[in-house]
Every structure is written in structure tokens, then in C-alpha cells.
Symmetry: C2
Subunit: 251 residues, 2 copies
């Protein structure tokens, strides 16, 4: 706790009040080497999206699209995106859309996961936190993954597994108080769109799920690729205007 209280680097771009700062030093643009040396697959990043009944559309599709569109950019190691669930039957999102998962994480073989994304779902504050098999899947995947990211209440799932202990995180703005009460051991930040601490990137979610995904792309591929990905989705990307927290590695 002391570490996170004292040593974190707060990069808050208070864009609404006109203040800006430059996070470029903390957002390394060339960490592909780290990925290559960590035993991950070398031709693509395998990015798994953990979905379940009641998943929120936007918190699934926003990062999914940013990451998937890397296959259209030249000169980068692209991301192979896919969904995992505890079934391969269609799941129904909270908005009522029916999505067919690619892999059943309980039964199927699937690619080694480099990046795990946990979008929010309807029961992430209650019954999903009692789903031992799902929590075990997240905990075990997190051990070897390069990155584990959450959007909105997906942070509750990460926190419940214990993998966020000792790390700084955030969640959906209206659920910050509940998050702090449920996980009093965590260092929780608010009024930021995302927090990056080690392998964990936790996002406020909603439509701001694009920002966390673009940040990771800027981290992995550099600013130009991130800007290009953003442009494809009609986003004027400038990390320096995005309120966020990056905890320096090794702190």
C-alpha cells in the first residue's frame, strides 16, 4: 500500500479545466521486445475477451475493434481477437444482443492468451463473483498473460481473484464507492479514464473503453499507429488530453 500511495506516477490531464501534461515518457513506444522475450506467440498477440450472460456491448466491442483493426496496419505485430465464455452457445448481452463465443474456456483448446480483456457484465457486482470456475480462469490466465485489462465493472472480477492486490486500479465512476468498500485493500483511483499498473489496465468503461485500448496500442506500437487506429474510428487521439494514471514499472 505504501508503495502505491507514495511511488505512483499520476498523469492527470485535466482537459476539462484546460490543464495538460505530457505522459509520453511513461508510455513507452517500443515494448515489443518485452513481449518477444516473455514466451508469447511471436507472429500475433492473442487477445481474449471474456464474455458471459449480461456482458455490456460497448465494453466488449470498443476494445475489440481497436485491437482487431491492428490487422489492417502495416508493419506491426497484429492482434488476433476472440471471445471466450463458459459455453459456445450464444450468450445474450445486457442490451439483448446474441453473440456466439469463439471458445469455451472450460472445454476447448484455445490460443495461448497474451492479453485478457474483461468487459463489464450485468452481475459483476454479485453472482459472477461467486463463479469459481470463471475466477480461476481469470487468475490462471493472468499468471502468464502480458496484459490483463478490465472495463467498467470488469475490475470487480479482477479484484475478486486477488490479482489486483498491491496494484492501483479504477472502475466505473458510479461504482467506485462500492468497489472501495468491497475491496478495502486496494488503491483505487477515480476521475481517470484508466489506470495502468504493471500488467493491469483497468478502465472506467463505457464509451471511454476506446481510450484504454488505444493507450495499450500506443504502448505496444507507438503514437502513429494509435492515431491511425483512432482515426479509423473517428477518434481524435491525443493521450496527453486523456485523464489517466500510469504506475512506473518496478515501483
Amino acid at each position: 500500500m505504501l508503495r502505491s500511495l507514495v511511488q505512483y506516477l499520476v498523469i492527470l490531464s485535466l482537459c476539462f479545466s484546460g490543464m495538460r501534461c505530457n505522459p509520453s515518457e511513461s508510455a513507452s513506444v517500443n515494448t515489443t521486445q518485452a513481449a518477444e522475450s516473455s514466451g508469447q506467440s511471436s507472429d500475433v498477440y492473442n487477445v481474449a475477451f471474456l464474455i458471459m450472460e449480461g456482458v455490456y456491448n460497448t465494453e466488449l466491442t470498443a476494445p475489440y475493434d481497436i485491437f482487431q483493426h491492428t490487422i489492417f496496419r502495416e508493419g506491426v505485430k497484429p492482434m488476433r481477437v476472440f471471445t471466450v465464455a463458459n459455453t459456445t452457445e450464444p450468450i445474450t448481452t445486457i442490451e439483448g444482443m446474441r453473440i456466439q463465443p469463439d471458445y469455451d474456456y472450460l472445454k476447448d483448446e484455445f490460443p495461448t492468451i497474451d492479453i485478457l480483456v474483461v468487459p463489464s457484465a450485468e452481475h459483476h457486482l454479485d453472482t459472477d463473483l461467486e463463479d469459481k470456475a470463471m475466477l480461476d480462469f481469470v487468475r490462471e490466465t493472468a499468471e502468464d498473460a502480458m496484459f490483463v485489462t478490465s472495463h467498467c465493472d470488469g475490475a470487480f472480477v479482477l479484484a475478486k481473484t486477488g490479482i489486483l492486490n498491491g496494484h492501483v486500479s479504477t472502475t466505473f465512476p458510479s461504482d467506485i464507492d462500492t468497489y472501495r468498500k468491497m475491496f478495502p485493500q486496494l488503491d483505487v483511483r477515480e476521475e481517470v479514464l484508466f489506470v495502468h499498473d504493471g500488467k493491469f489496465i483497468t478502465s472506467a468503461g463505457g464509451a471511454k473503453s476506446f481510450e484504454a485500448a488505444l493507450y495499450l496500442c500506443e504502448y505496444l506500437y507507438g503514437k502513429t499507429i494509435a492515431e491511425d487506429l483512432a482515426k479509423g474510428l473517428v477518434i481524435d487521439w491525443n493521450l496527453s488530453t486523456v485523464p489517466h494514471v500510469v504506475v512506473p514499472s518496478g515501483s
Copy 2:
């Protein structure tokens, strides 16, 4: 053409250069009466999303989520959202997600459509424009619908049916030139996030698809509901900061 050249009302909030304007006069906050008197279903707005192979995730889910979340707001006539396609077998989005359509518009009975949404799809600039059955569906639905909206290249589909003739519209920024060449009879605007002309709302698409949907909600339900819907998706909604065009009715 002269009408649209001379008489339109341009509401351009040049937020990037700090200029603002107030579109509140054109964005009526109480048009529910108009809906009630037009023969639409009275308890809900039926909102159909036209999907097909290669549909773009975000341009489907962004407006889908904004509209669907109206069921969580008290005191409003909510929207019932559903997808329509030329099949009820799963379709694969351009990003590779598999979505099961709710209705086959060629075979099934489905609710009378009050609002038709046409998200972009991979072949909206080529082969989809040769899909006569789909174009007929759009044209016929548009006749009785209250609103017909497009996101990104969905405007090409609307334009191909002829329903945009005599109306102002926009599309995905990088496809504006192609749009103008393909449909030289149209009055096309650029550097705006959406255009509202009569029953048609055409959006630049991408992540800015939220804005067009929020605009329609502000139009139907008022500013407070739109702000509330936006907050649920971590969007700080203020129409006066959104570059857009509204063509006055009757012009």
C-alpha cells in the same frame, strides 16, 4: 438542391477552435406528440438495426446501447431495439464477431419499425449496393418510419435507395469524396459528426456514432434524459460542443 444550398441551418460547434453555438432551438425537446400522432406504436419505439455480413461492431453497438438503455430511464417512452438481417443464422461482423439476428426481414413478421438504423458494413460501397432485396427493404421501411439513421458508410445504402435525394447528409470522413462522386445529386456535408434533415440522421460513424444516437434521444426525450443516457456510458454529453448540421423542418 437550391433549397438545401440556401435554406439549411448549419449548426457547427467548432469545439476544437473553441467556438461554440447553441443548437437548443433547433433540437426540440418535446416531439413525442409528433410520434404519437403518426400512427407509430404508442408504448415503445421499435428500433431496428439492419445488419449483414461484415457489419462494423461499433457502428452497430454504439447507437444500439444508447437506444436500449432508454428502458432504464423512468418517465420516457422506451425504445425496443432489435436486429434484422436477410437471415436468422449468425452473421459475422468485419471484426469477426458472430451475432445472431433477431428477425429475417425477408421471411419473418417483425414489429412495425419506428426507427431504422443502418450501421456500416464492409461492402457498403460495392456489392451491398447491388442487393435489391435489402435496398427495397430500406426504401419501404423508410416510407413509414419516423426516423432513418445511418452510421459511417451506411449512408451509401440510404443514398442508393434514392431516399436521400433532396436531403442533406454526411458519411465516414475518409469516404466523403467517393460519396460525392457516387451520388453527385446529393448535398453532402463534411467535418460534422452528423446531419439531421427531416426523418434522416446520417452520422460520420465510428466512435462518434454515440453522438448521433444521443442527439436523437435529446430530440425525443429532452436534454436531461440524453445527459443521463450519456453518463451511463461515461460520456460527458453537451450537444453545443458537437459539430453537426440540423436542417429546419419545412425548408
